[in-house]
Subunit: 349 residues, 2 copies
Amino acid sequence: MSFDLNNDPHIRIDILTGERVLVSPHRSKRPWQGQVEKSTTRERETYDEDCYLCPGNRRAEGAINPSYSGSFVFVNDFSALLDRDNSFYLNEKDLFITEAERGICKVISFSPRHDLTLAEMDLDAITQVVKTWQNEFDNLRKNIWVQYIQVFENKGAIMGCSNPHPHGQVWAQQGIPSAIVLEGQRQMDYFKKYGRTLLRDYLDAELKKKERVLIETKSFVCLVPYWAKWPFETMIISKRELQTISEFSSEELSDLALVIQELAIRYDNLFETSFPYSAGMHQAPVNTGDQSGWHWHMHFYPPLLRSATVKKFMVGYEMLADAQRDITPEKAAEMLQQLSVIHYKKQSN
Amino acid sequence: MSFDLNNDPHIRIDILTGERVLVSPHRSKRPWQGQVEKSTTRERETYDEDCYLCPGNRRAEGAINPSYSGSFVFVNDFSALLDRDNSFYLNEKDLFITEAERGICKVISFSPRHDLTLAEMDLDAITQVVKTWQNEFDNLRKNIWVQYIQVFENKGAIMGCSNPHPHGQVWAQQGIPSAIVLEGQRQMDYFKKYGRTLLRDYLDAELKKKERVLIETKSFVCLVPYWAKWPFETMIISKRELQTISEFSSEELSDLALVIQELAIRYDNLFETSFPYSAGMHQAPVNTGDQSGWHWHMHFYPPLLRSATVKKFMVGYEMLADAQRDITPEKAAEMLQQLSVIHYKKQSN
Ligand SMILES: O=P(O)(O)O[C@H]1O[C@H](CO)[C@@H](O)[C@H](O)[C@H]1O
Ligand SMILES: O=P(O)(O)O[C@H]1O[C@H](CO)[C@@H](O)[C@H](O)[C@H]1O
């Protein structure tokens, strides 16, 4: 019997986590009668006097933002982690396991302009954001108790972002998050078996196949992973086997800015909306043991499914069993490949 | 230095998965300026002529529902899995791993009444739903290719439910989902080490501590797990070391209905709204090898955080690193414990 990836339900394995993803291509024609999101096409002002990120404004805890240009970094006024030294650990019969967690949560405003996102910022401004990420990473890892640093962005109200002023976050912490332990273990296993990083070999194979590749520059590739869970999920992978952003050359920093810009523009163009997502880098832990096999990459998890207002719900089956998707990763890649690299707001008709 | 679980950020380990959960109790006073959901207090009709679940109505693929009483089961007109025998498997260099997946997706309408949820149905009607779950499970496992059966419910538009008529789903499949493999492995490891199931010991310890226990009946306990990820997450655990609903006595079936009813009522009473959640049973795989250590339980994952319209966003940090919560599980349990077991709509003022 023949098998058709474009029509038959099947499982794909996420090679970074080992997790199964159920792909149900035949189901992409399902009508949708459920919840519809608000679309956000409203134009914003360049400055908002009530925004705690705009230059010169007062923040929740009273501090006044400088009148900055470029990006601006400060410790989150409502940090989930606190920088307090405490070594509490308690394991009660393998049933109640508790450990103190120390950390620093920072906010990075991407630009003094309240109204721009990465999709509309110019390349110099995005390059400055990327340099700020490197700078923050380099400084935070100097705390010898820090073992992991998560750089990420929640974009759009639908992704829990409470302020539309473009910004991201950096959380540095004492422990290593579960997702990082898992990806690290699998990357190390592969490296020990094959002597090359998992993502190096994966990248080479994808560059030969081409069908899921969206953007290729000198130093990075952006693609829809074969095992993508979210409808328009993508990944940026460095061509060199780098472990963290600390190792990036200045050419690589600008090159990453270029890839992020192009991806953000294509995303916005897909449904002609400010395209929501959560995105973040996965990097090797620092100040700790052997990390061989770790290969720097950045995940983009966008929730939208078929329009600016209909999202994919990762709910019952997905929370309890396996991730599930309808449209194939190849179809998603094809749709993203066909889009213009000029932002829809800037296209002359 | 002393450590205070009610104030200091800490990690708790989910004993079923081994995953870390970051608890940030000091942060529960954070103001919320982000997305606010629609609240659904609108009363519904007992029958809706456009509903594909109401008795006598026509479904998407043309079939006509019988004029049923009790619950009603049919194969999903837009099944994510299809019942087609296919043994396709391909592993391309450990990078592209693909496998055919066979399955059956059923929908269970809980009641002919369009307007009721489990929180408002009477005990007999809920008992009938629980019996239907057992019946479906018993029948589906007779297909020798079926290895796992997921019983679940998505309740509320916010949880991707596209029809407010009360209903759940049952997906039977050939493979074993990642979440089940993980929980099964950890339960087996514990069982081999201690000779008792992990959840048996956990239950005993929680029944002694009492602070996270919401409901205890002869056969089941409902509690807020020590490692709960969602603000008001709960779990129902059987007192006997049962592996699947097949083994439930008829007394246990009615008893489960009672626990579900009381939990659903307390949930609705919390914010005086039809409380959304995704819920589902985790049960041992069937028609396959040794499952020792598996202990039947049911997870409830509700998204709301502090009102009928403000939910917890599991986004950037949570998708990339670890789950994170603000309010402690103990505080959530306390709030749920204090609620009436009479549904707010039925309370006389
Ligand atoms: O099966 P339904 O109700 O059409 O769809 C709902 O539940 C499914 C299983 O959790 C999800 O995959 C869908 O995203 C969700 O909208
Ligand atoms: O840190 P913020 O922007 O206040 O909050 C947002 O991102 C956090 C990290 O992903 C999440 O824990 C919150 O649920 C979300 O609303």
